[in-house]
Subunit: 534 residues, 2 copies
């Protein structure tokens, strides 16, 4: 996996945009990107400087006993003000970021977390748990007035692998570890968490757990939920530590209450995670389809077989063109099989046979290999990891980019995809006066449904980009809601998805969640505004 | 599967013991069973009669508008007084059953359930949701004083399959359907829920959901949790209906709060369930091991491979002898592979190779076949389904039988199994003055651990059987707790596992659960005493 092997050096993170500062598109690349979208700016917006922000004095200071865990410096405060949604990046570019936190804390142990929560409770300070800061749903930003100050609780100093149980293939890991560091520490044992979200380099285990992250793999166990053996969560009402169990039928699962709680019920500080042997056999191939609906049927057949492809990513023709997989107007299915036990060529052969039976054309005979192919599959993988940087380059050209994802059952999927294309496309055109790009890919497939991922790119209203984005987000959310497709499959709810989440969630469950919040966070200090109101 | 093909006729259910009245062991069989256990009675206890119980007048009656859904007759009231634990059967045999409910209701729709809950709330009547009544943990019995009367809410009149979505392989099913009826309704569509707990014939979908039941299959998706697409739950605070979704990352899972709630938070009335194609290819084989610990290592290797055996049940020598699989003192691994897509002989061959590498001896070459083999595998399957009846025959001979199960990680498993054998065996001997049978099998295996299932049979204290059982249960629970093994993998908590469940559950989660209970069931009428105190 190329995501595993990116060199980790002393490069510095962009405070305003995705990832590494030196990987951001330069002016030339921005101009080239802008040329692809009608109505963009003649020149890129300048990269913003923290010094240009008016960052006030902090409205609260911790006592001396906690001072060594806290910083009030402008740069970390600015970098912790928002996540990495288009909305966040654009506000930074336009010099109008969200509320800058008053202080950033880097706890090193549970006691630090607990002490900080206690202080925050006494002082009516909002606490925003922060992992890699890659939220694209307003999950790490304070919006409100009810708190005296805002503390960004950055967990990345808690990044150790504390124990490895090779018999049970599990590890006890601190929540603040970033993806690459975690894999580095597991590799010498021949083990892997095998959880590779697109944000892998810039997100943490704790963030994955708090947001029920989806991994890179298309079928089978891919959500972080399934890899969780036990959780340790520091809440204002005490620390919750579940037992390490491969399975249990003892009451509702304690872990499932905290998985997806997005920092509103407690701070996940540690987890025992289920690991896997590193796959030794891999094979991949790309399959083209003239008709996208044929491709959907092929993917359904694959998801309902027991072939269990590790990758089964369907790109529509626009997505295939954008990523360089193909420009011939076809949809492309990127298929990959992996095993730690036995060669997978037979299984790939069977998968290709199934795809052909639904009108697919496999480009070449597959070969068992450890490295990605230098072809459509490889092209797509590189583009996948580069995508968020390109989004920032487009943002500097005044183009609005929104990516959103969902999941629904197979019976509803074709109509949903058609409706998103039509309605969001029309809304973008209306908002900007220009035709927009609306692409779709399937990222995860299940026997009973699939998770489509949409990319919308629209130019033409420079200066109003955030308003256009808000409009598109509202239209998209409305389409999903009318089609009973979840407001999020793996991006989380945060603040941006609240309206649709509130409609989707059954009312008695909302009542229950509010009661839990009131019990575990009676002061209402934890990530206020996310999921539920205090 | 023989469990699927049992004829469903007008046979009548035993009110006091397991299953069909006419399948209970006769006097001769009881005597033969008694001869296997030292210290049993010279003659079987008589089958108890409802007429011999002193069943009082009901302490509450429903208004006329609900009368057509309710019965006050002694037989159904007696039959709904308890589940089917040894403790329950023995109390019935000794003429000292638990509290007889005042009335039994058979709602036909959500409105009925809602109306009955409303009436019960007004009248301070305890409501015990009841599916097949197969609980072995005191899950369907009222113990307490705080309520004016007790209503057993029998869901079995809500037993329809309401919709089938063949595209997404899912069905909307009412919660009161028993296992065989559900499979009968799915079979014409080529589909199956493929969930076959030992209680399959006598338990309902709603019961499986409320108790997080484990299916027959050893690996992969076997828990009912994984087959649940959405739930409909009637609570005193309103009806919770989640969306049909193949997956979602929108907050903590609403369904996971109700899965395992054991009737304490609401009444599950309906669910969309994920289905599968019926397997077309099956192959099975038995493997013998001289050393049980070798067998454990073999099973771990299988669980950590990607061979995904449908059956991977390890019987220790005592269990193998009891079930007739073998009497040569060896442990036996019952292996089965299934697929709806392709022949499984290769995979079985690879599984046998792995087993041999750990000291196993495969009895014969496997063959792909649709029916169970007429050998160790078949013998074990028949014994498996007959087991609860034999337990009742033994009970009539005054022998105490306790079966309990748990799950733990591989690193802790060998020590746990040894400790249960030693400590529970010693406790049984001390309690009865006779050596006890303590057998173990693994019912489910996971990459990170396994679920051992223990059978304890002890004779020698006729008349005190319930007290002996209570002692053994306490000792067993204590061993599990000290080894950090869950108090239940798939039997649920009910009332009998409360002491250990209270210790196992993280305290902040207990606080959260109490808050949810208070919110959804403010009158504290739903299954009081189970999981949490009101």
């Amino acid at each position: 996996m190329s995501v595993e092997t990116v060199a980790r050096t002393s490069r510095s993170r962009s405070w305003w945009g995705w990832g590494w500062a030196d990987a951001q598109p330069d002016e030339e690349e921005c101009l080239a990107l802008g040329a692809l979208v009608p109505g963009t700016l003649p020149r890129p917006l300048p990269v913003p400087e923290v010094a240009d922000l008016r960052i006030g004095r902090p409205a609260a200071e911790v006592p001396r006993s906690l001072a060594h865990r806290v910083t009030y410096d402008p740069l970390p405060r600015a970098a912790h003000a928002m996540g990495k949604a288009f909305r966040d990046v654009m506000r930074a570019l336009r010099g109008r970021p969200g509320r800058i936190p008053d202080l950033v804390a880097h706890p090193r142990c549970d006691q630090d977390v607990s002490d900080l929560l206690e202080w925050a409770g006494e002082q009516r300070v909002a606490v925003i748990p922060y992992g890699g800061g890659s939220s694209v749903v307003g999950g790490v930003e304070y919006r409100g007035e009810a708190h005296r100050a805002v503390l960004s609780l950055d967990l990345t100093a808690m990044d150790r692998v504390l124990e490895i149980d090779t018999d049970s293939r599990a590890a006890r890991v601190q929540a603040g570890v970033l993806g690459p560091a975690l894999e580095d520490r597991l590799r010498p044992h021949g083990l892997t968490l095998r959880h590779f979200p697109q944000s892998f380099e810039f997100s943490t285990l704790g963030g994955w757990l708090a947001t029920r992250a989806g991994g890179h793999y298309a079928t089978g166990r891919t959500h972080i939920d399934d890899f969780t053996q036990s959780l340790r969560v520091v809440t204002p009402a005490g620390t919750s530590a579940s037992w390490r169990l491969p399975a249990s039928g003892a009451g509702p699962s304690p872990d499932r209450l905290f998985l997806g709680s997005e920092g509103t019920l407690g701070v996940i500080t540690e987890a025992w995670m289920r690991l896997q042997e590193r796959p030794r056999h891999k094979a991949s191939a790309a399959v083209s389809f003239t008709d996208f609906h044929d491709a959907l049927r092929a993917v359904r057949a694959l998801a309902q077989s027991d072939l269990a492809p590790a990758n089964c990513r369907l790109l529509d023709s626009g997505e295939a063109a954008l990523s360089g997989a193909t420009r011939d107007g076809c949809a492309v299915l990127v298929l990959g099989l992996e095993s730690s036990t036995a060669p997978v060529d037979d299984r790939l052969g069977q998968a290709l046979e199934l795809a052909r039976a639904h009108g697919g054309r496999a480009d070449a005979e597959p070969a068992d290999r450890g490295a990605p192919a230098d072809d459509a599959v490889g092209a797509w993988r590189s583009a996948f990891l580069r995508m968020p940087y390109l989004r920032d380059g487009l943002a500097r050209m005044g183009a609005v980019t929104e990516t959103f994802e969902t999941a629904t059952t197979w019976d509803r999927l074709p109509a949903l995809i058609d409706a998103v294309r039509t309605e969001v496309g029309a809304a973008a055109r209306e908002a900007t006066g220009h035709p927009a790009i609306v692409n779709c890919r399937l990222t995860h497939v299940y026997p009973d449904g699939a998770a489509p991922y949409f990319t919308v790119i629209a130019g033409g209203r420079p200066g109003d980009e955030v308003a256009v984005w808000d409009d598109l987000k509202a239209v998209a959310g409305d389409v999903l809601h009318r089609h009973r497709a979840t407001i999020t499959h793996h991006h989380a709810v945060g603040r941006d998805h609240r309206p649709q989440y509130d409609l989707q969630r059954p009312d008695p469950f909302a009542q229950a969640l509010r009661a839990v919040k009131q019990t575990l966070d009676p002061g209402g200090i934890l990530n206020p505004g996310v999921l539920i109101d205090s």
